[in-house]
Symmetry: C2
Subunit: 316 residues, 2 copies
């Protein structure tokens, strides 16, 4: 009954890092690595591979840079089949930092880009592939892209890119299941030589259902995060995904323990999840940055004013 | 673009009453009534019409009984098109309490029942209809019903029942969009003379997406609650529904205000929403009562033990 090709990628530490400057301590990251290993998750994305020439290690935690030594320290002493993934943004990587796959604890490199930057993403991704890594290109903010541009982007990825996977990324949490169906079918119709993936945000409590919708239409790479941790409204909760998937290798129990012991206390310290300003930006298909700014101020529960500020004042 | 036939029924006070013994004070209920009126919601379900011979008014709040005088007090002084609905359970109503529609502030009576009790529900519903009310039959816990029994139930409702609407109720929050599609299509295939409705619970963060799925397949009555308030994991958030529906008469802003001013403070006092034990009962298609009991004790974050207690020990 289950589809063996479906791979689960947990990006708790990577996407969660966007709300704490990538500053998770080693004990916490190791607890996540252990639980994901026991749960038989396929990939763990541990952070970004950003250039230290562009971002200061004094201002950001270590998971913005993902030095091999830090990754190895997490893996050390834990018997695991879990593959490590890191994310690269266009224009923020020092390509010399990327060692050959054989010398690195990393298995997969995912390149995130907007449609307009797909040429750069292909250029980078092909280099990662040539160094021996599994690779993907993750197309961000896909809901607001014109259809002809998306067609060209997908055609280019199919023809020119060595990535094994192309991801649909709902950065704003604005997709409904009909839009998800449309995008996945469109991608599958053009991109025949690669798998399709989905990375959903939870602004409208639709991250899980959009992930299911993508699976229904043959996406085989699905992202989740423990207890939905992630920027703003967060992501598709890994525990729900494990409750849904029928592959008997997955075990939800280590993830339940991890939430009990680590994520309930963490939620007292940092905020993510279903919060009305994030729902509003999702409904309006806007990046959550205005909502994130609102939540840091003393007007954080002034929803009507926030909504008015986003819809008002536009002129042709 | 919008479908005018879609009607939104807010059951915040009725379903929310299940977590506070129906003991919302008049000021709060009036604030909800005013906001829903301004938002141009179609129906507000205000509580249950239970018999005072069976339940003591000393033990329960007034919205377990919904006396006409209490309803009129809420409506008093507010200009509104909002129709009032009350819910009746099988075997818990004193039929003599139900006055003719002309003498009552209530427009709609919804009868909730399990498939096995559909004969009783039809008997009651036809009496409500004869008294002049709009009526529905709400089939609870529909996920676990054998197909032949469901067919018979739907056929009987179509032939014998005067209700205008038959609701699919996902009591356990266990439906996925494929199951929702199956059930709505099945209901539409048999029940030709009535509308189909959906009442979804949010254990797996799927209440909103299942409601969208039902709309896609031509359900025209959809339930929501403000900020998802409701028993255990709660319901489809009304604010998300209003963000999705395209009917220009709906206005999300009064609902945003209501959440800011009333529901954020309320959430500090009573618990509902996405909480792991409710997710677990949803995944396992079980009633949330075990999870609700767990949340009242000192083991409330012991998710693994709770999960094991639900899956272990079964024998053929």
């Amino acid at each position: 009954m289950f589809r063996e090709k479906i791979k689960v990628l947990d990006c708790t530490i990577r996407d969660g890092g966007l709300i704490n400057n990538h500053d998770f301590d080693h004990r916490f990251v190791k607890a996540v690595y252990r639980a994901l290993s026991e749960a038989k998750i396929d990939y763990m994305e541990i952070g970004y591979k950003n250039s230290k020439k562009m971002f200061s290690p004094k201002e950001f935690g270590i998971w913005k840079f993902c030095d091999d030594e830090d990754i190895k320290r997490v893996m050390d002493g834990i018997d695991s089949q879990l593959k490590i993934s890191v994310m690269c943004d266009v224009d923020r990587v020092d390509m010399d930092d990327i060692k050959p796959r054989k010398e690195s604890p990393v298995t997969m490199i995912r390149t995130a880009c907007y449609v307009k930057d797909v040429d750069k993403a292909i250029y980078m991704t092909n280099q990662f592939a040539d160094k021996g890594y599994e690779t993907s290109v993750n197309i961000m903010s896909i809901a607001g892209v014109l259809d002809n541009e998306l067609t060209e982007c997908f055609e280019q990825l199919e023809k020119e890119c060595k990535a094994q996977v192309v991801y649909i990324v709902d950065s704003n949490g604005s997709l409904y299941q009909e839009t998800t169906e449309f995008l996945i079918k469109k991608a599958k119709g053009i991109i025949k030589s690669k798998e399709i993936g989905i990375h959903a945000h939870n602004n409208q409590q639709l991250a899980f259902s959009n992930t299911i919708e993508a699976i229904i239409h043959d996406a085989n790479f699905v992202d989740g995060t423990v207890y939905g941790l992630g920027r703003a409204a967060g992501n598709c909760p890994l525990e729900l995904l494990l409750g849904f998937l029928k592959n008997p290798k997955y075990d939800i129990r280590p993830v339940l323990d991890l939430i009990s012991k680590e994520f309930i206390p963490l939620r007292e310290k940092i905020e993510w999840g279903y919060i009305i300003p994030y729902a509003i930006t999702g409904i309006l298909d806007l990046h959550p940055r205005a909502a994130m700014a609102l939540r840091k101020g003393d007007q954080k529960e002034n929803y009507r004013e926030f909504y008015e500020s986003l819809i008002g004042g536009d002129e042709e």
